[in-house]
């Protein structure tokens, strides 16, 4: 049997979040999401969370497991400690109900970096009209293109907690993804990611990259944008940019 202590918050009846203990008759191969389903089915139908794909792709099910941001579908009962595990909503984001946190703030920040390709008709095209891009060119942005928007990095980032305008790791990684794409010419986007709300708000603790379940490494993306920003002020005679 697995014991979970889950942070509950019902906005219509709770003044503040509270902890509730649940016992789950589950299998070792069950994910945390399976366990939450068991609770809803058999114990308490009011428990609320988000989840869908159960394969780490839809980004719905981020929670704190003993204080660590994780995808619920990638935490298995066999991996939980013998003592009760504490399950809470992601930190640094407004709690809507139980394990659900506000997604709007992340989407507003994401949109602020204009995360869409801004191409040029002058780019060379291939046989079916596709813009040519070699695997080496693609490798410059492919890692950051894996972001599933799960917001675990926001829960891990100390700056998100104290600097409200800060765009945060995932949005800045998205900016880097497009700025590093050989097909993209949206250089105006560079302005929005510089400054204290952008990459210069990052204090380089790297917790975002540790938290990322998809290997995106937002911390490295942010550092590369800092370099790109700094280089744009230095005459190219002396320093050569990494993305010429």
């Amino acid at each position: 049997m697995t014991v979970l202590e889950i942070q509950r918050y019902l906005p219509e009846s709770d003044q503040a979040p509270r902890w509730q203990r649940y016992e789950v008759e589950g299998e070792p191969a069950w994910s945390l999401i399976d366990a939450l389903g068991y609770i809803k089915d058999h114990v308490d139908p009011t428990l609320a969370w988000r989840a869908s794909c159960r394969m780490g792709m839809c980004g719905s099910c981020g929670v704190l497991v003993d204080g660590v941001p994780r995808l619920g579908c990638e935490v298995f009962l066999r991996d939980l400690p013998d003592r009760p595990a504490r399950i809470a909503p992601l930190a640094h984001l407004p709690v809507e109900r139980d394990l659900m946190v506000d997604t709007e703030g992340y989407l507003r920040r994401l949109r602020a970096v204009e995360p869409w390709l801004q191409p040029s008709d002058a780019d060379p095209v291939g046989p079916v009209g596709e813009r040519l891009q070699t695997p080496a060119q693609q490798a410059k942005y492919l890692e950051t293109a894996q972001c599933i928007g799960c917001m675990l990095c926001y829960a891990a980032c100390p700056q998100v907690a104290v600097n409200e305008p800060f765009l945060g790791p995932a949005a800045l990684a998205a900016a880097h993804r497009y700025l590093s794409d050989s097909r993209d010419h949206g250089h105006a986007r560079r302005g929005s990611v510089q400054g204290l709300q952008g990459v210069w708000g990052c204090t380089l603790v790297g917790t975002c990259s540790e938290a990322c379940p998809k290997g995106v490494d937002p911390a490295a993306a942010i550092q590369r944008e800092k370099v790109r920003g700094a280089l744009s002020f230095v005459p190219s005679l002396f320093v050569r940019g990494e993305d010429d």
């Binding site: 809803k40 809507e96 109900r97 994401l110 596709e130």
Partner: protein, 590 residues
């Protein structure tokens, strides 16, 4: 009753997955003001979980006719051939469009888009982004939609019904999940893009949101559902969880082995055996999905499957591909296999078994995505445009989302431009009643537990409407489904809250799923032949073109077993033949 919030739009898109986003973008680019409703944030939609890729002719040695013929034969001739022609003619342009919007399709060393082999396809024509093709398609569409100010998103709105009056659709009723407020969305054009219904089965590859809501809504609004008996069972999913292990594993050269280590597919008309790592189109592991799932069933019966803690399995061996190619082409599969079953495919084979995957049938539409209700369009998995017939070929559905999503968006925008009559007062009264009834469901008294009803439905579907079907089993299953559907009204709900009442949403989803399950069951029991994914082991074990080269149409019934009719299949240039795979399929090919 709380006050109803009314929202006006020109084009209303229901569903924020691939088809819905593509429709919204096309409508917005045609100048329409779009309201995009989704019960989840669009990037959470189940398109995200598609792995293998999207089909579109791209190689000089390939041609549209070959893609057309593969699709029609793959569908066991139940495809509407003009829909297939339209599809193959537009797929490549859509995939290229997606490239222009940033989709990171995997590339050849010289920068051209790469394609991979896929089951039932005579040539390599599947565009892919490693093994996260659906994710990258959805991400590209979502990002592109963010750039368009004329798309207003209504995220986490659960649509509860279509507002249809005298054969005209005027909008939808909905529930805002975050507040519980009732909404009425009014628009001259509505695009249904709500996806499939894999969750009516217990063992499936689908996300928990795939509950057939749109299919049920259209059915209740008076449209028949077409070809619902054709449910695709994907041959390779992880035991226990049902997590999808993409067909691309086999496209890249993976092989399937039984407990004796034999490439058993050669015993099911799919041979001759090909050397490991050298896959041959339409042969062995690159046969179509229905045939591969059926082969598993026989192996299991013969005791040649591998027992695993969470169910019998066969082995998908990828070791010969090597660590480097696995990392480049199948990174998600490596990670899923490690996390869920503790096996890295470079070291050991992955245990896999068939799981329900895709709803071939749906809301009948013309090639232009219009339905028999004016102002209502449908695209993607919820639609039955006639593309997939009795068995969908892998990688045709991601391309379908784009081709028909776009067509729906453009059609819907054109109708909105032309102007349509406003809904009559009586329709609005009906909408109010409907929303009032939904509100009254919270914490309703009853004796039936939601989870028990849901699991009972899933078990009946697994037992009676799976890979192989028997007349008596289906009749038994059907009467049980009728009872289960009736017992929904006796559901006990215990959450009285307004905000994020996910128990209420689950109850509404279950009511949709029960409707869809019944539509599947009734359609299956009535089809007295075997074709594509509908295979019977009784007196009707072969294809019967005399009687059943026809689309099934199931009409809505409030209670009891719904009636089945049949409609014509459109055959333009490729008359029915025997489906051949393996060596026979290569005859005459270079």
């Amino acid at each position: 009753m709380r006050e109803i919030v009314t929202v006006h739009a020109e084009v209303l898109v229901i569903g924020g997955g691939g088809a819905g986003l593509r429709a919204a973008i096309a409508a917005a680019e045609s100048g329409a003001r779009v309201a995009l409703l989704s019960k989840v944030y669009p990037m959470r939609s189940h398109t995200v979980a598609a792995e293998g890729g999207a089909a579109g002719v791209a190689q000089p040695e390939d041609d549209l006719e070959a893609h057309f013929r593969d699709t029609v034969a793959g569908g066991d001739w139940l495809c509407d051939q003009s829909a297939v022609s339209y599809f193959v003619a537009h797929a490549t342009a859509e995939l290229t469009w997606l490239e222009h919007h940033g989709c990171p399709w995997s590339r050849e060393p010289d920068g051209r888009v790469a394609v991979r082999k896929f089951g039932g396809m005579k040539r390599a024509r599947t565009w892919f982004a490693a093994d996260k093709s659906g994710f990258h398609i959805l991400q590209t569409l979502f990002h592109t939609a963010l750039a368009l100010p004329s798309i207003d998103r209504f995220d986490e709105f659960f649509c509860t019904g279509l507002l249809v009056h005298d054969g005209v659709c005027h909008g939808v009723m909905a529930l805002r999940i975050s507040t519980g407020e009732p909404y009425l969305f009014l628009a001259p054009s509505v695009v249904l893009a709500t996806g499939g219904a894999g969750r009516v089965y217990r063992f499936n590859t689908n996300g928990s949101i795939v509950t057939g809501d749109g299919l049920a809504m259209a059915w209740r609004a008076g449209l028949p559902l077409r070809d619902m008996e054709f449910v695709q069972v994907h041959p390779t999913a992880l035991p226990g969880s049902g997590v999808l292990i993409t067909e691309a594993c086999r496209g890249e050269g993976g092989i399937l082995l039984n407990a004796e280590g034999r490439r058993y597919l050669q015993d099911y008309g799919l041979g001759p055996e090909t050397p490991p790592g050298q896959p041959r189109n339409k042969t062995m592991e690159l046969g179509p999905r229905d045939r591969l799932s059926q082969a598993f069933w026989h192996e299991q019966r013969a005791g040649r499957t591998v027992p695993s803690p969470r169910g019998d399995a066969v082995h998908l061996d990828l070791r010969h591909l090597g660590a480097e190619r696995l990392a480049e082409r199948l990174p998600l599969i490596c990670s899923l296999s490690e996390k869920h079953v503790g096996i890295h495919p470079k070291d050991a084979p992955i245990p896999v078994r068939p799981a329900v995957h895709y709803t071939m049938g749906g809301v009948p539409t013309s090639v232009d995505t219009s339905t028999a209700i004016s102002g209502l369009y449908a695209a993607g998995e919820c639609a039955s445009v006639g593309l997939h017939g009795a068995n969908r070929l892998g990688s045709n559905s991601l391309a379908e989302l784009l081709v028909f999503g776009r067509a729906a968006g453009e059609r819907a925008a054109a109708r909105a431009r032309a102007g349509a009559p406003p809904p009559p007062g009586s329709a609005l009264g009906h909408a109010r009643e409907h929303l009032c009834a939904i509100q009254a469901l919270r914490a309703k008294k009853g004796t039936v537990r939601l989870a028990e009803l849901r699991d009972a439905m899933g078990s009946i579907m697994d037992e009676c409407f799976g890979i192989y079907r028997l007349g008596p089993d289906m009749e038994r299953g059907l009467s049980r489904l009728v009872e289960l559907r009736e017992s929904w009204s006796d559901l006990e709900l215990r959450d009285a809250s307004e905000r994020f009442n996910t128990e209420l949403i689950a109850a509404l989803e279950l009511s949709c799923a029960l409707d869809v399950a019944l539509a599947i069951g009734a359609s299956a029991a009535a089809r007295k032949e075997s074709r594509g994914s509908h295979q019977r082991l009784d007196a009707f074990s072969v294809r019967d073109d005399e009687r059943f080269l026809a689309h099934s149409l199931v009409d809505y019934a409030e209670s009891g077993v719904p009636a089945i009719r049949y409609g014509p299949v459109e055959i333009t240039s490729y008359p029915p033949e025997e489906r051949v795979y393996g060596g026979e399929a290569q005859v005459g090919d270079s």
